[in-house]
């Protein structure tokens, strides 16, 4: 309850400050949009369905891209964690590649896939693959060795050992990495969409820029943040809490 009150106070304060600055008209409205202007823009966008379509398109892309990078990242991460040669070679390469913003892959993606959805997916995958891979590798290493031994001892080996023991045992350790991978995927997607006429949220944002409609720019930014927050807060927090409860790390209700 107290937490909620604090949040309300904080955000109404922020909005109030914004409203006062806008009311003072220190800058012309095309440079400094007003809260009510952004509100109207949000309303209009949802009313003519353009925001819904953009959200749907962007979500579809990010989900496909993220799913692919989770699957690939799991395989890569496990490979790196279980093989000394791969760890020393590929592991080092992956760490250094992490400093590369995923949008750097954009020119290459355009050449390979043309101006298409696939180019965007490629950038999304390159954005999140590395964090998922490294999360998986860390999870596999941090996971108590006893589970792997117990699994082998009970006759599990090969894929069943991975699927029934190693993967669930390392889940609590890789959730935070999966979360980070999601954040990277989402950011890469928006960046890529801004560079290409593509119906997604990024394109609407750029459209706002082209029309000098700062209200729309801010409205889309609000949407991007809100979606990121909802996925993080609902999906990943929920998953984390579920795992902790199941693992007995939290007092069960």
């Amino acid at each position: 309850m107290k937490h909620g009150v604090r949040l309300i106070v904080f955000y109404s304060g922020l909005l109030g400050l914004w409203a006062i600055l806008a009311k003072l008209k220190l800058w012309p409205p095309y440079l400094f949009p007003t809260p009510w202007g952004v509100g109207e823009s949000l309303y209009a966008g949802f009313a003519d369905h353009s925001f819904w379509i953009a959200i749907g398109t962007s979500m579809q892309r990010v989900l496909i891209g993220y799913a692919i990078s989770v699957i690939l990242g799991m395989c890569l991460g496990l490979g790196v964690a279980s093989n000394k040669f791969l760890e020393e070679t590929l592991g080092g390469l992956l760490v250094s590649l992490q400093s590369l913003p995923s949008i750097c892959w954009w020119p290459l993606a355009l050449l390979w896939f043309g101006l298409s959805q696939n180019a965007i997916l490629f950038v999304v995958i390159m954005g999140s693959l590395l964090s998922v891979t490294m999360a998986m590798e860390d999870g596999r290493k941090q996971m108590p060795k006893i589970y792997g031994m117990a699994g082998r001892n009970l006759g599990a080996r090969g894929f069943p050992l991975f699927w029934h023991v190693l993967l669930p045992a390392s889940l609590p350790y890789i959730v935070s990495g999966l979360k980070q991978g999601w954040a990277f995927a989402w950011r890469s997607l928006i960046t890529a969409e801004m560079l290409y006429m593509s119906l997604g949220l990024g394109q609407i944002l750029m459209m706002g820029r082209d029309l000098s409609d700062m209200n729309q720019v801010i409205a889309v930014m609000v949407l991007i943040v809100a979606i990121g927050y909802v996925v993080d807060g609902l999906v990943f927090k929920g998953l984390e809490r579920h795992l902790q409860r199941k693992w007995g790390l939290l007092p069960s209700t």
Binding site: I146, M149, A150, N153, L154, G155, K246, W247, G248
Partner: protein, 312 residues
Amino acid sequence: MTTAPQSFPNDHRSPTRGNLSRGRGTGAAVLPLPVRAAAGVPKVELQGISLSYKTEKGTRLLALDNIDLKVQPGEFLCIVGPSGCGKSTLLHLIAGLHHPTSGKVFIDSKQVSEPGTDRILIFQELGLFPWLKVGENVEFGMRMKGLSKAERKERTEHYLRLVHLAQFKDSYTHQLSGGMRQRVALARALATEPDVLLMDEPFAALDAQTRDLLHDELERIWAETGRTIIFVTHNVREAVRLGDRVALITFRPGRVKREFVIDLPRPRHLEDISVAQTAREILDELRGEINRSLEVEYHEGVRPHVDPGAEQ
């Protein structure tokens, strides 16, 4: 050393135990001694098992040195030794989880080098899977073996009943007490129906009452199922309480110093004078080794241990 710990009568039992009694004063039948075919084919045979590895300082440590052991079918062998002597490692080697530097492990005269469900190890830390329910934990080995669903269900129920945990089938392991978790591990190991049970200090972390209770249950289950058991402990009295034979392992390098045949009648109790006297005899033999282990601990500031996974 010879003072008997306080004895606890039946009142500490959980109600799930029903009318099973511990034997003393209740006229319970003496458990049958397993047939010990002295000249028969041993169930487990270790031939010249040695293990050495490089420590972090770069020196070589000879952890186990030329260990020969034979365990007969249905025998209950206890292995005792000071901490860090490699007795747990020996179990891991038998289980096939690690490989010795030299030497061979035979089960029914067949050499083994990989894990197999003919011998199941119960780890000191148990290694129960927290993401599975109690019943699913017990089922795990059978699932890996590819048994049918109906059979798995039936056997899971059977072995959970055997350890008196039938109504906890759908609980998670973290909801259980230490003693109950121990019994889940026992049921999980038994459910794959291995010929050999390897137990690594399974009761070390339990309180005295729970341990007493589990001694009784283990002895009963052993008598009922006829399994061969190799039980590692640092508690000599526990070894005498449970074992047909006690093998004493020395400290660095680990060698079999002496074997003691325990032919005290069963059921035995930790508080029995005969158990205490036999334990005393073994302890006298062991004392030098314990002192050397403690010296290393004080000298190096760390508990001595053998790292079977280290670079060989």
